[in-house]
Structure formats: structure tokens, C-alpha cells
Amino acid sequence: MIRVTDLSKSYGSRLAVDSLNFEAKQGEILGFLGPNGAGKTTTMRILTGYMPPTSGTATIAGYDVVADSLEVRKRVGYLPETVPLYTDMTVYDYLKFMADLRHLPNADDRVTETLDQVGLLDRAEGYIGSLSKGMRQRVGLAQALLHKPEVLILDEPTIGLDPAQIIEVRKLIRDVGKERTVLLSTHILSEAQQICDRILIINKGKIVVEDTPENLQSKLAGAQRVQLRVRGEADELAGKISGLAGMQEVKVLSDGSIEFQFAPGKDLRPEVAKLTIEAKYDLLELRQINLSLEEIFLQLTREDLPAEEPEPEEEAE
């Protein structure tokens, strides 16, 4: 549905997007993750036909974003980062205007339907200027959904929303993403983890890594880390645990629990549990620690990390 080949965009001498390659299939929710200034918005603006790339190509549903820009724009719903709204229009009039621009045959019905979908039906006659930030975000989302686009491109869709609204919007995106392609950018990692089928981490205009949220986690976790909590002093036990074959690192944390790491391939948890019981400790908790996406993210986007390692992965795609 979306195919991006060697896409680059430079603003003057600054390279914002550096030969990007990726694809998104129909019915896939692709998360675009990266720090500010990584090139997420620029890539999205190229895909929506807002600006042409400096080099490389991008196609949406088989149409080139430069040569067949109008065809692309007909098929894409776009929610820009700063939601573009006419504050002196009512919600209804605004959506009607957008529906007319998109030549929707039953514009009035579609506007009502979409307003219902984003939960703004009761505010239809209110002026956009009087809406809260969360509601404006939803008006923007309604505008993107209005024409039932094949591809939905959302730039930070949940920014500025309260927790309840965030859950609602995420659910909405998941529903929409069942039959349509969604490309969304975010820098909330748990969000990408929850919504997306595939995550693309981008930094300085380059793809750092591309994988499913689950793989990303297990791949990057490398060695297994486990936390063990027992009643009472744990220092002595820690010493015993470090004697186990294959154990890599054992440390006692400030709260008295033990964190240990062993080589991948061999699960040492049963041995540790046996050891703990034999040593007459009361075992309270034995838990695997998943490397959070936050940690993965920090690891991957740290500048001192070599960037060549992840690149073969994007070629494989």
C-alpha cells in the first residue's frame, strides 16, 4: 500500500530524511518512532503530497506521490502534527467544507457518521475555537477519516489528549487499521507497542530498526534478566546464585531484591528457585524483566551506538 524507496529530503544543507526504505501492507498499522527532528513529519509530508522529496520515490496504492499527487491525496487521510482547523467555523461546517473538497456524494451523512465515530456529535454546531485541545484533535481525526481513505497518516495523533481520550483514540485507530493501512508517528513508545503491528524506529532521517514490537523487545533484550525477591537479607543468597553455571551478573538492589542475568539459550530460573528453597529462604517473587521500549529506544538512538548493525534488516524487508 505504501512503498518508499531511497527517499531523501534535504532542507538546504540539512538532510532531514536520508534514503529511507520501507513498506506497509494493507490492514497494517505501522508505527513511526523517533525523537523530535528525526524526520517523521517530513516523511509524512512527502507521503501526503504536501512537499516533494529531494530524491527517491514513494508510492501509495501504486500512485507516485509526485507524478500522481492528486490521486494519492484522494486516497490518503492526513492528520498533521499541528491540527489545522479554522477556529471561526463550526465543527459541522468545517467537516462539510472538507467533504466538499473531497467531492463526497453524500457529504451530510458522512459528516454526521464521522462525527459519531469520533464522539463529537453533540458538539457539531459548536465553534472550533471554543473546543478543548482533545476535541480539536478529534475534529482533525474526523477530517482525516471523512472520505474513508485507504491510507491513514497520523502525525502524533494522541498528543495533548487526556488519558481517557488517548484510550479512545487508540481504539479508534486499531478499528480503522483492521482494513486500512495506518502510518502513525509517536514518541510515546508504549503507544507504538499497543497499537502497531510493526514499528519503525527512525533517527536522524535513517531507519535504525524495523520489526514487530514483540521481536524488537526479545531481540534487543539479548540476555535474560530476572528479578528475585525473598524475605529477609538476600546478600548471602546472591553469592550462591552467582555460583551457578551460565550466570552472568548478579546484583542486590537497594530494595533488597536480587537482579540477575544469564546467557541466552539456557533458562536458569528453575535452578535459582530450587537454590532459594534449599537455602531456606521464603521466595516471594521471581519475575522476568522485559527491556522496556524506552530502554530499547534509548539504546538504539544513542549516538555512540554503531548504526551499521541494523541496516541489513531493512534490506531484508
Binding site: 532542507y11 516533494p52 492528486l70 491525496r73 498533521p80 489545522p84 466538499d100 473538497l101 473531497r102 467531492h103
Partner: protein
């Protein structure tokens, strides 16, 4: 065509909630009304009802002059404000050609001005009813045609300049400066040069307008105003397109 109409319709209705538009409408109608009253008074004092038919040239040339003054205030926000508010991103990613956007914007403000011009028609009609032989119909029609042509041209240039800037004030002063040049300055060399000065007269809005206003409607005059209109729309479309590439 449909997209142009959609943009124009929104723009037209926006003017009716804009304070600037009401200020412009108020000034235009008050000043035109005053001149109308003065014309009536001078007719009644002259007592020469049997002589020439009263003409409306004073009213139409005044409307054209006022339009020149007001246009920068009406057009400055048209595209500059979309850029500032970020809604340009919305319009440029909608299935809409760049020129459709610019023409739509122009058409919206042009229709608004046409509405105001239509309201001023009550003055000549009242004059027609008051004066015995009626007014000079040909002069009136020619004068109003001149007003409409000059409005189309000025508004188009204003829209074009608005597309270049993301700052309304910059758009306002640039438009104003261009109008001062086209209205007064460009015709000046015609009076100084011994020969070949006609071309400057041809380029001057005020001399083109006054010949139409005086009833001598020529093809070259009409072409002049239509060319200015096309130029403004072309500059606007190009500016929008250039903005994409930056």
C-alpha cells in the same frame, strides 16, 4: 471548477463574520452615499434640470478609488493567514490543484466586492428617479464595468501577493506599494518623455480606468485589466507551488 467554487464559497461566507470586511463595507457605502448626496445638492442648486443628464461618473470613479485603498486589507489574509495558521497543510494535502486554491480565494473576495458594488447601485437608481431626464445609462454601465474590471485586477494582485508572504502585514504593505506604483507612479513618465510615453499611460490603472469611466470602453482597456487579473492569479499559483519545494 467544483473545487474553486468550494473554496470561494467558504471565503465569501468568511467575509460576513470578519470585522475588516464590515469596516470596508461601511466606509465604501458611507463615502459613496455622501458623494451621492453632494451630487444631488449641486443638481438641485443649479436648477438646470433641462440641461445635461446628471452623470454617475463621480460615484463610479470614487468606488474604484476606494477599492484600491481597501483591497490590500481584504486580500492580505487570504493565503498568508492559511500559511500562518497551518491550514495550508490541510489544503495542500487535499485533492485540490494549487491554482484552484488561488482562483477560489480570488473568486471568494471578488464575489464579496461584487456584493458591495451591487449595493451601491441604489445611488444611481435613486438619482435616475429624481432627475427629470434620468441619468446617462451608457455612462453608468461603462462606469460600473470599469469598477468591476478594476476590482478583479486589484483583488487578483492582492491574492497573488498574499500567497508570497506568511505575514499579513508584509502582504498588506507590498500590495499597497504595488497599487501606488500602478495607480500613480507608472503613468508619470508619459508626461515627461517627449515621445513613446503612451506605453506608460497604457500601464497605468488610473488612466485606463478614467477612459472606461468616461464612456470610451476599448478592447485594449478590457484586455489590460484581464491581463492584470491573470498575472495576479499566476503569481499566486506559482508562489504556492514554490512553497512546496522549499
Amino acid at each position: 471548477m467544483r473545487n474553486i467554487w468550494t473554496i470561494a464559497k467558504r471565503e465569501y461566507s468568511q467575509y460576513f463574520i470578519s470585522p475588516i470586511a464590515y469596516a470596508v463595507a461601511f466606509l465604501l457605502l458611507v463615502v459613496t452615499g455622501l458623494v451621492f448626496v453632494l451630487t444631488i445638492m449641486s443638481i438641485s442648486q443649479n436648477q438646470s434640470f433641462t440641461s445635461d443628464a446628471p452623470d454617475t461618473r463621480a460615484v463610479t470613479s470614487l468606488i474604484a478609488f476606494l477599492l484600491m485603498l481597501f483591497t490590500p486589507a481584504l486580500t492580505m489574509r487570504l493565503i498568508a493567514d492559511e500559511i500562518r495558521m497551518g491550514t495550508m497543510e490541510l489544503l495542500l494535502t487535499a485533492p485540490l490543484r494549487d491554482y484552484e486554491l488561488v482562483i477560489g480565494k480570488w473568486l471568494g473576495v471578488f464575489l464579496f466586492i461584487l456584493t458591495l458594488i451591487a449595493i451601491t447601485l441604489i445611488f444611481p437608481f435613486m438619482m435616475n428617479g429624481m432627475a427629470k431626464p434620468g441619468i446617462d445609462q451608457v455612462l453608468m454601465m461603462s462606469g460600473y464595468l470599469g469598477v468591476i474590471l478594476v476590482a478583479a485586477a486589484l483583488l487578483s494582485l492582492g491574492v497573488g501577493i498574499s500567497a508570497i508572504f506568511s505575514n499579513q502585514i508584509a502582504a498588506f504593505f507590498t500590495t499597497m506599494a504595488l497599487f501606488i506604483v500602478l495607480w500613480w507612479l507608472i503613468g508619470a513618465p508619459a508626461n515627461i518623455l517627449p515621445s513613446g510615453g503612451e506605453v506608460f499611460n497604457y500601464l497605468s490603472i488610473s488612466s485606463q480606468l478614467s477612459s472606461i469611466n468616461n464612456g470610451s470602453l476599448s478592447l485594449s482597456g478590457v484586455i489590460y485589466f484581464l491581463s492584470l487579473t491573470a498575472l495576479g492569479l499566476f503569481v499566486g499559483s506559482t508562489a504556492v507551488e514554490i512553497r512546496r519545494w522549499r
